[in-house]
Amino acid sequence: MNNKNATKRPIKVYIFITCLVDTFFPEVGESMLKVLDDLGVEVDFIEEQTCCGQPAFNSGYQDDARVVAKRFISIFEKTLNHDSNTETYIICPSGSCTSMVKVFYEDLFKNSPEILKKVSRIKENTYEFSEFLIKVLNTVDIGAKYDGVITYHDSCHLLRELRVKDAPRQLINSVKGVKFKEMDLHDACCGFGGTFSIKFPNVSVSMLDEKIDCIVNSGADTVVSADMGCLMNIGGALSRRNIPIKVIHLAQLLASRG
């Protein structure tokens, strides 16, 4: 283990579990927990939390999104009122939901200065999982072991809204037994795009076809990403086509012990 924790105060993490992870992929949340546990970080989960509001926001239903986002803000705002002896963070295993909070809440509440104040406090303390490990915990090697050839799909929001490109790659490369292969067009959208994938299924699948080709041609046996939205899309095509490539979230990779 190589935990060069630069901060002096103890760290407390409130995990923000996306609705996709909660409902369809709970093992991803558990993997994130395992990694944080192993790093000795105190973790809490507020059971009131549900969704950040992104599905409605992206579909144009901003009033509905605002009501749900307000609820999210009031729940997570409380986490930041802790005593000054701990450093408190909100950590999420999704670049997309993290960017909803860190980037798009500002737009959603641009006419509410009071809420914007809360948003800016939350924003400062909210991190996507891989960025948190690298930037806040200064941790690269967490003792993970995985026997396989891995390629990484950059999720659009993590890459282009949060500008996180290297952190997941550094983490993947630190896993013992892993051979990393960059795919062509690794930063191209997989065609998910939330409701886009059912509004224009053929366009979505045409984009996905190209992504699948890139994954297959990379020679990897496992594809990793930091967003279950993308992985649900990519995995949905791989399993439909009986292509034996494993699909795992970065947290699952980091929680493997060989």
Partner: protein
Amino acid sequence: MGFEEVRFEKDSDKAIQNKPLQKALVNVTDRFRSARNKASSEVPGWEELRSNVREIKKNTIENLDKYLTLLEENVIKSGGRVHWAKDADEASQIIVNIANERNVKSVVKSKSMATEEIDLNSSFESAGIKVVETDLGEYIIQLAGEHPSHIIAPAIHKTKDDISKLFSEKLGIPHYENPEELTKVAREKLRSEFLNADMGVSGANFAVAETGTIVVVENEGNARLTTTVPKIHVALVGIEKLIPRYEDLSMFLTILARSATGQKSSTYVSFITGPKKPSDIEGPEEFHLVLLDNGRSGVLASEETRESLYCIRCGACLNNCPVYRHVGGHSYGSVYSGPIGAIITPQLMGIDKAAELPFASSLCGACHDVCPVKIDFPKVLLTLRKRIVKSRKLSVKNTKDIIEKLGIKFWRFTVLNNSIYKITNKLLYYLQTPWKESNGKLKSLPYPFSRWTDQRDFPSVAKRTFRDRWKERRGQMG
């Protein structure tokens, strides 16, 4: 009209089935993209340059009335005439009138998106005036009777074979296989058109307010000929093409060519200030500048989406868009395609006529990253989506919209209360049973989820959700 009917889903389905088109799109967008990436990486301070040109555009658009008045004054001072067109019909009427009053029989045109937008060619043809496109790509699509499918490469949907057949059929020449030979044929045909034309029509990449100069950027030399050989030159320019100062051009020209084709500079850059002066050897006797609104002042009025007018039509957003790459330009039903089309078409032609377009994006943000004026495409798309949802009139005819709204309302109801949310997840777990396969995947779901499961497996709702597992863990930890 330059704007056809928008039927994005239908037309994109067709484009996806068209294998030669798919191949051409990948080739062209790959080539433009890598050229742009290389060219931009060679300019020190590229990001700063983007910020600077954005600032200039922002300032210009926010003070457009002032700069337009200045431009008008300076065009008149240099001997030109200025016409104001509130919409496409008025612009076409003004230009056709200029032609009719001067007994113009034949017009040559250089490539211009604004003239495509108002479908000027149809107006000329109805008035019995011959009009010939002189940009090679535009010439090809004019022969084919089609619309451009890319802002800077209008005929990219056509293969070499298509063009060979088209030329043979329309120009009565043998089937030439070789692109050089085809280009030579076009060049010879066009040369005589230039010499016989009574009027030249161009667009402009920039109009400089302080000098009254219009700037035309091109690679074939046809725009230079269009604007200098015929006796009359008419330039149709959207009101958003203004820049305040002559010296700003160095930044804009630097960023435009590199963003568009990856060239350091376009082969020809023409600076046109009024008609021929007594001291000039060549040039038109008359210069007319037609300033086109056609919905732009409406875009200007909206603070949320105003930045759509900063666009300098380089096409980089198209070349980097994964949606454009798979559907091509014609799917957008408008002369403007790709991300810029998705934001500008609904604003210019009316949101109700192009309501599909702002949704025809996965919001991946690749366009935002390469836009030379940093238009925040995802933000503008989201704003337009909001407007569309607000303006929808739900009736039995729009079952799709009703289902969507019910879905959102149901989602809102469940996520606003975590007990309801938990119960819903439990219910979904049991409800999914009939569709669940032995491997835990859902392979066919009812509409609208069928639009996912027709081609992809859907994951099943977990028996124990994360929050269930958290509770157990907490119980164990005591």
